[in-house]
Symmetry: C2
Amino acid sequence: MSRWIQDGDNVDITNERKKGTFDTERMSAWIHGGPEVLKRRREILSFVKSIDDFKDPVPTEFMSREERILNNARKVVAMTDNTDQIDGSDFFGEGMYYQALTMGRDLHAMSLHYVMFIPTLQGQTDDEQLDEWLTKAISRAVVGTYAQTELGHGTNLSKLETTATYDSATEEFVLNSPTITAAKWWPGGLGKSSNYAVVVAQLYTKGECKGPHPFIVQLRDDETHMPLKGIRLGDIGPKLGINGNDNGFLLFDKVRIPRRALLMRYAKVKPDGTYVAPAHSKLGYGTMVFVRSIMIKDQSTQLAAAATIATRYASVRRQGEISPGKGEVQIIDYQTQQFRVFPQMARAFAFMAAATEIRDLYMTVTEQLTHGNTELLAELHVLSSGLKSIVSWDTAQGIEQCRLACGGHGYSQASGFPEIYGYAVGGCTYEGENLVMLLQVARFLMRAAEGVRKGSAKLADIGAYIGKTGPKTSRLTTHYHYTDADLVADLEHAARKQVFRAYDRLKKAQEHLSPEVAWNSVSVELAKASRWHVRVYLVKNFLNKVALAPQDLKFVLTDVARLYAYDIITSSIGAFLEDGYMSSNQMNEVKEGIYECLAKIRPNAVALVDSWDYDDKELKSVLGRRDGNVYPALLEWAQNSQLNRSDVLPSHTKYLGPMMKDARSKL
Amino acid sequence: MSRWIQDGDNVDITNERKKGTFDTERMSAWIHGGPEVLKRRREILSFVKSIDDFKDPVPTEFMSREERILNNARKVVAMTDNTDQIDGSDFFGEGMYYQALTMGRDLHAMSLHYVMFIPTLQGQTDDEQLDEWLTKAISRAVVGTYAQTELGHGTNLSKLETTATYDSATEEFVLNSPTITAAKWWPGGLGKSSNYAVVVAQLYTKGECKGPHPFIVQLRDDETHMPLKGIRLGDIGPKLGINGNDNGFLLFDKVRIPRRALLMRYAKVKPDGTYVAPAHSKLGYGTMVFVRSIMIKDQSTQLAAAATIATRYASVRRQGEISPGKGEVQIIDYQTQQFRVFPQMARAFAFMAAATEIRDLYMTVTEQLTHGNTELLAELHVLSSGLKSIVSWDTAQGIEQCRLACGGHGYSQASGFPEIYGYAVGGCTYEGENLVMLLQVARFLMRAAEGVRKGSAKLADIGAYIGKTGPKTSRLTTHYHYTDADLVADLEHAARKQVFRAYDRLKKAQEHLSPEVAWNSVSVELAKASRWHVRVYLVKNFLNKVALAPQDLKFVLTDVARLYAYDIITSSIGAFLEDGYMSSNQMNEVKEGIYECLAKIRPNAVALVDSWDYDDKELKSVLGRRDGNVYPALLEWAQNSQLNRSDVLPSHTKYLGPMMKDARSKL
Ligand SMILES: Cc1cc2nc3c(=O)[nH]c(=O)nc-3n(C[C@H](O)[C@H](O)[C@H](O)COP(=O)(O)OP(=O)(O)OC[C@H]3O[C@@H](n4cnc5c(N)ncnc54)[C@H](O)[C@@H]3O)c2cc1C
Ligand SMILES: Cc1cc2nc3c(=O)[nH]c(=O)nc-3n(C[C@H](O)[C@H](O)[C@H](O)COP(=O)(O)OP(=O)(O)OC[C@H]3O[C@@H](n4cnc5c(N)ncnc54)[C@H](O)[C@@H]3O)c2cc1C
């Protein structure tokens, strides 16, 4: 039966696993990309388990920040010492898995080194610079980060305040932070770990500002690791999550760096100070799409972890009776519980499908570009910004639903949820603040709507629906006969309607306002249009994937995909009832469809989450343990508490004890 | 103008304060209950500021758990040493304010002592017991907690596993934890601070189980504070929030306690073991309503704090341009930003209004009860359960929206948000898990619906709408002419519709299922009905309060109340469009109403949040500072980071440094 069953497991969870109507191993292979991939995952897992340096002396929840930082540094060195164990070119697959197993969910001293520093060097240096810096970075002779955001500016890069003023006398740039708000703020690993950074600063030469440019800057002494002269930097303090990382601040007091510190792939400054503008506008899209596809994979992995924990726990937690006298039920039997947890599981499936698809699309587009075909590029860029925004937000909300569904124990760090949430929700803000991203998507949508209205739209697949004429009313009869095509048509109707609602309002506002003020005055509607655009894509993509799944997996995946789609529809009922596109009866059918999906998923729920193939080492949750034996494990976990190191704490000896003694003496 | 303006303040925030169109001092008085109350608040504030023991040596975010526990113990002793400074009978007002100022948002060693231990003694002891224990508790000769929840059982009290078996030979009860799941788990202050607890255990006498009963139990030695024989207890480990509290676990190994440890106000056990059942069923409703009205006040205070931080920060943060070349705008000028933050402010106002109302209703009901009038009791009990659920969830979501609206800096603990969220969201789980509460509300609603259908309904004010026949279609023409009465009628329509939708589905399900299984099969719909029931109350109550407000405050409060109501309507558009109750055009009017409210609130936003009268000492947020000078304060705050105590960390010396050195040597 299920490979997840072992002797000594909690009986309820074993029974759930026996109930599963499909082969979890085949499902895992479908999810992760084939049996070969699964085999490799397990090799990596046993390697990681075999290395002592990857073990945490106590669960990381019990460590102070200093202890976490130290623990992470040990592990990251071990991790990068052993990269020969994985296929480094497969960062999306083996790389992310290896890192999750070794480092957990925390960021570490070299996160930015790999995610931003090296890619920036690869993208922005000229050949000579590449030679020098890439060698150093890859060999780990330096640890770098990416310092762009400042105290005063994140979203609006054009107003960064750090200056790099060229001095042709010495052929140097002078880096300076003219104000407090110019302090670099947030870069991962900047506070204590990195000794180099790519610093984004306003380039001044010959008295003119040329806008923000990237410079490679040494921050700390090679030998002593002390900050170099004129450089003030440190940790920015504790955060909602990722406290094992030393996100830092950085101020420059007229620090001189060589002319060749400017990364010169595109723009250049000649020795005499002449500025050479980039030959072609930056083709940065590709990398951004790739980084975001990684983020989407990462977010879906966090949501799937949360759904795994909540589903397994719901199958072992017994609380209350449904039929009096028949004994306490597993809470997974409550319809409200299913309604809380299963849609999160469905979202995780949908987001994983999107992550793979975006990665593949990225490959296609890169390939097309080599033939000069840029057709898909803009839409894809837009889509990945939108996906980043929707996926990170739905993930955050979903994680919290899963946590709350575990009652009191969900609130304990033993559950893993507080860490999962703190880590994942950061994704709503970095790599482009979510609302700002949605407004960018809206620019594309408004251009598309304009094109459609003017009859000149050229829309590739992703946005094609904007130019389509769909049915006047939904073709839904009963949810049993609701085809994928009809469902998609209904969602496209809602999306299109919102796109044009926003467009028409924008046009109307432009009648009496400047284009920009008009834009702001309808921006809430614009953001809504973007959400619809992305959600339609998510559903379509998921349904398409499921349609191609092997027959023995398809039936249960269909329940999951339908739940995902119906949940979107019933969360915005108004969009479908408006103007009689759907009748109340049709909407009732969708609601019934949800209840039907919940009931059908119920017996397969544990098997579905098992299929994601989380090892306990990756899941890091007492509530989500494979074996379901949560209660003894909770008791054992709690023994690690810092407060349990002694029976009587100084808080008693110094304050509460004397207070009580005094009162007793007066009784 | 505004009392909030001072020299040296950030110019943007001062300008906002000058824009305000009403007197913040009068608004504060309206919110808090009159100028006298404000005066008292400020007296309490200056007292607290004058006492050294209330000062935190560093911001608490930088403390380890051990340090927090110690710091809290010092402060709580000082706080309770000085209770003569406040009117102790006014816990809802002066008590909560005093505690917020001294203790911050964390719970402390004596939270449960005051919130549960003493009230339980007051409610459950007989006169002799009251004499003995209340004296000890109030004089602080003992510190107690309330130990009910176990590892295995929280919601379903009837299945608690701790046993108290009467031994008539020695006239003692034997307390025992027969299984691991019987371990008490979660009680606040149980781990290390308390030496006494009210323990809820299954009472066995003469071989029969009489169900869960409360016992007063000594846990630790008076002098040494060591756990008594047979008692194993400790801290349950770190949590999402309230880590300054030692929520604990507790296991009994056949611990003998005297017969009189059973709290005997209602049930008794005679020396020979005869069980005397309670004469009348417990009238516990009153206390529960009171505790929940405190929770609602507390939750609204947290949401208001979040809205204050986000609003003030949005007025000093400048990012991006709306009109090109016109300079960066305050982010509060973005419509999307207003749409994120202002509805949270409106909710906080609505919830505060509900908290006061529930407290007053509680008084009325208590008064009515003395005349044997129980008419309102059930409805009020139900309402307070429902409110607890809706308010805590909307608060949690609202806090996160406010946090995300602050971009990167919202993620830092400097913002205060991580602590506010971690603290407040606990309220979704304790005092009755939210979904379980909603299902309790639904029982009342289904009885009401049944009564209406059978023509026998007796519904007091709160649920009267269930029996009313409203208009067939909404009377809304334009949002300018939308009266409170029409608005309420529309909301009541939606609520009633969902109540009967759930009822009809329940009846239909009961045709082929047992009543209990049928109940479960429609429970998602039941919970929805409960949400509507509570939200209708929240809107009605808020509108009523505003209608009675002084003229000079009413206009801006009306904008706030309308925003709250319109936000509810547009979040459930389907409920109004269904069956043509509203047309798309009418719904568009509501949407326009929202945009209008946002624009009207815009110039008053800072003044509105100022009116809540948060001192920086209470707000504890670098982003929400009164003076708006957030950037230098962020830099200063960060210097406290544990990691900034030395320039070079062991993580470098031990791991990263050698790694780089090794690589350099090979270059
Ligand atoms: C965990 C974490 C890690 C990070 N790591 C790094 C790093 O390694 N290196 C680095 O350089 N930076 C890093 N950052 C910074 C991050 O990139 C920025 O915080 C992010 O880009 C958001 O910008 P902001 O903070 O300026 O938000 P703001 O722009 O100030 O956002 C505040 C509010 O204003 C609104 N807003 C802003 N502009 C507009 C607009 N034009 N229209 C409408 N609304 C608007 C937003 O929607 C938001 O509600 C990190 C941040 C976090 C939280
Ligand atoms: C911060 C905090 C402080 C606390 N302090 C104390 C304290 O001082 N003293 C004390 O004794 N306890 C305390 N508790 C425990 C708290 O009272 C319980 O956690 C709470 O009552 C929820 O119960 P549970 O944990 O058993 O949740 P569960 O009942 O296990 O809930 C898990 C899931 O099951 C669902 N569920 C359960 N029953 C039903 C049902 N009948 N129908 C439908 N769904 C159902 C819930 O909706 C939820 O989704 C505290 C808890 C927290 C988080």
